[in-house]
């Protein structure tokens, strides 16, 4: 298996309603995939299925080697208990916890790794602070640190720039560019603009998936791709617009 992750004919929904239908998608090593689409289009749901937080109705997700156990997840900061009394350092340390080691104490090595990552993300001075005292941008970096401490081979970020000012955004993009040397990255966003220079694949998701392969990122395609989310969000008529740049792939 050449790809890190291969998703085939994935379908999932809440209660009776399908949110995702027949999704097929592959993630190669060191890929940078941008997953865009309107609100409620199933972006976060797809992420949760890949991460094993949700179980699909049908379809398969296959992982290369031990990839399945080495996924990094940076959720939207609104999705966890922000009032939990925990320091930045301890929060990052929880990233080391896995299904097979959660009964043991944290090792010295894990603590050193957490410290090093905090240093790298310019958070070391904040390590003793409570997570409740952080700004949105700082908290986002803590969540990234928590994901990185487990040394993932594939990193998933859900709307990472939402709470960030322009400077933090630039820092994040620099970091992602560096991380891409070592891991595949998938970013879920409703606003692809900040990632214009970074991504290699773009996938438009609105219940079904509209995916662009490699080598299509000429200016004409870029223009179309850029048109896609803007139009979706503006008018809510994704299908007609997306059909224009579907390029022979299954709608």
């Amino acid at each position: 298996m050449e790809n890190l992750i291969e998703i085939e004919h994935l379908t999932y929904g809440y209660q009776e309603r399908a949110v995702l239908e027949d999704i097929s998608l592959a993630i190669a090593p060191r890929d940078f995939t941008l997953l865009i689409g309107p609100n409620g289009g199933g972006k976060t749901t797809l992420l949760k299925l890949i991460l094993g937080i949700l179980t699909p109705w049908s379809g398969t997700i296959r992982f290369q080697g031990e990839t399945g156990g080495r996924l990094g997840y940076v959720p939207q900061s609104a999705r966890f208990n922000r009032t939990f009394p925990i320091s930045v350092f301890d929060m990052v340390l929880t990233g080391c916890i896995r299904g097979d080691n959660y009964l043991s104490r944290h090792t010295r090595e894990e603590e050193e790794k957490s410290g090093a990552i905090l240093e790298k993300l310019a958070l070391y001075g904040k390590r003793k602070d409570n997570i409740t005292d952080l700004s949105g941008g700082q908290l986002q970096r803590v969540l990234i640190a928590r994901a990185l401490v487990s040394e993932p081979v594939s990193l998933f970020l859900d709307e990472p720039t939402t709470a960030m000012d322009i400077t933090s955004q630039t820092d994040l993009l620099d970091l992602l560019a560096e991380l891409q040397e070592r891991m595949s990255i998938m970013v879920v966003t409703h606003d692809p603009t900040p990632y214009a220079q970074s991504y290699r694949h773009i996938a438009c998701l609105n219940r079904r998936l509209y995916f662009h392969g490699r080598g299509e990122l000429d200016s004409a395609t870029l223009e179309k791709v850029y048109g896609c989310p803007v139009e979706i969000l503006g008018h809510g008529i994704p299908h007609t617009l997306l059909a224009a740049h579907e390029e022979g792939k299954r709608p």
Partner: protein, 274 residues
């Protein structure tokens, strides 16, 4: 003082008070951070059903309470996992049905049920020695399980989805925490009674959270707060013959009020400085 300690009922009361405080401090922070306060209220009230049946059958009331609370905990846990229906609706129903069963069986039991009031409102001064041993066992189970599964419980209290993504057995951990909550409630019912259990699970944690911002330290401080409150309430009950459960809770509530008030004044003074 040593004269008081020579009474067996007083020794029992102090032991049970300390053990209850340990249980509160160990499980209370999880209940508060996981927002399980309403669940705890529901669980403690279903105990009344078990008590009623135990009276009717003529068996030890504590066992009846334990059977009911554990069953309710498993039902609520399963309901939560399947997300079959709105959980607070289900808890509300269990709460009321439990109490109704209790009332019915007590009505059907001939004669007067003398211990009934102590189960509703708690009476730490009448805990029999056998129940002290059961409380000790429950305390050991709760503290032991939380010590072993600490990282897992923190993971689900902090970020359940992340714990799932990291392949932790989230469903089992949630059910485990629910069952430990049930066991803690059974322990606490003896001290403050069915109606007041929630207070002992929340007040020490609320006081501790004013001073500590680290989960372990909140646990430790909650235990100390609990001991302070329980033993003060016990003394109030012994010397001025106040109902023990109510004394414990009111001392706790007053302490929380004082702590909050003092903090407010000192904070204002701090911000007033140039």
């Amino acid at each position: 003082m040593s004269a008081i300690l020579s009474y067996e009922f007083m020794q029992n009361a102090i032991l049970v008070g300390i053990m209850a405080s340990i249980v509160c401090g160990v499980i209370g922070p999880f209940i508060v951070t996981r927002r399980m306060v309403f669940i705890s209220g529901g669980l403690s009230h279903t105990a009344f059903g078990g008590l009623g049946i135990a009276y009717w059958l003529g068996i030890r009331p504590l066992f009846g309470a334990m059977a009911f609370v554990l069953t309710a905990a498993v039902l609520i846990g399963r309901q939560e996992e399947k997300r079959l229906s709105q959980n607070d609706l289900f808890i509300g129903i269990l709460w009321a049905v439990g109490v109704a069963i209790g009332i019915l069986f007590i009505h059907m039991t001939p004669g007067y049920a003398p211990d009934l009031m102590s189960f509703l409102f708690g009476n730490i001064l009448t805990v029999p020695r056998a129940d002290v041993l059961i409380t000790l066992l429950l305390t050991l189970i709760v503290t032991g399980a939380v010590t072993i599964y600490y990282n897992g419980f923190v993971a689900i209290a902090l970020d359940e989805e992340y714990a799932r993504a990291r392949r932790l057995p989230v469903a089992a951990l949630k059910m485990g925490l629910m069952i430990l909550t049930a066991l803690s409630i059974v322990t606490l019912i003896q001290v403050v009674g069915i109606l007041l259990v929630i207070a002992l699970l929340t007040i020490p944690v609320a006081i501790a959270s004013e001073f500590a911002r680290n989960f372990r330290r909140i646990m430790l401080l909650s235990i100390l707060c609990g001991i302070l409150i329980c033993l003060s309430g016990l003394m109030a009950s012994y010397f001025i013959e106040f109902p023990s459960g109510a004394s414990i809770i009111l001392i706790g509530g007053a302490l929380l009020g004082v702590v909050k008030g003092v903090k407010r004044v000192t904070n204002r003074r701090k911000t007033a400085l140039p």
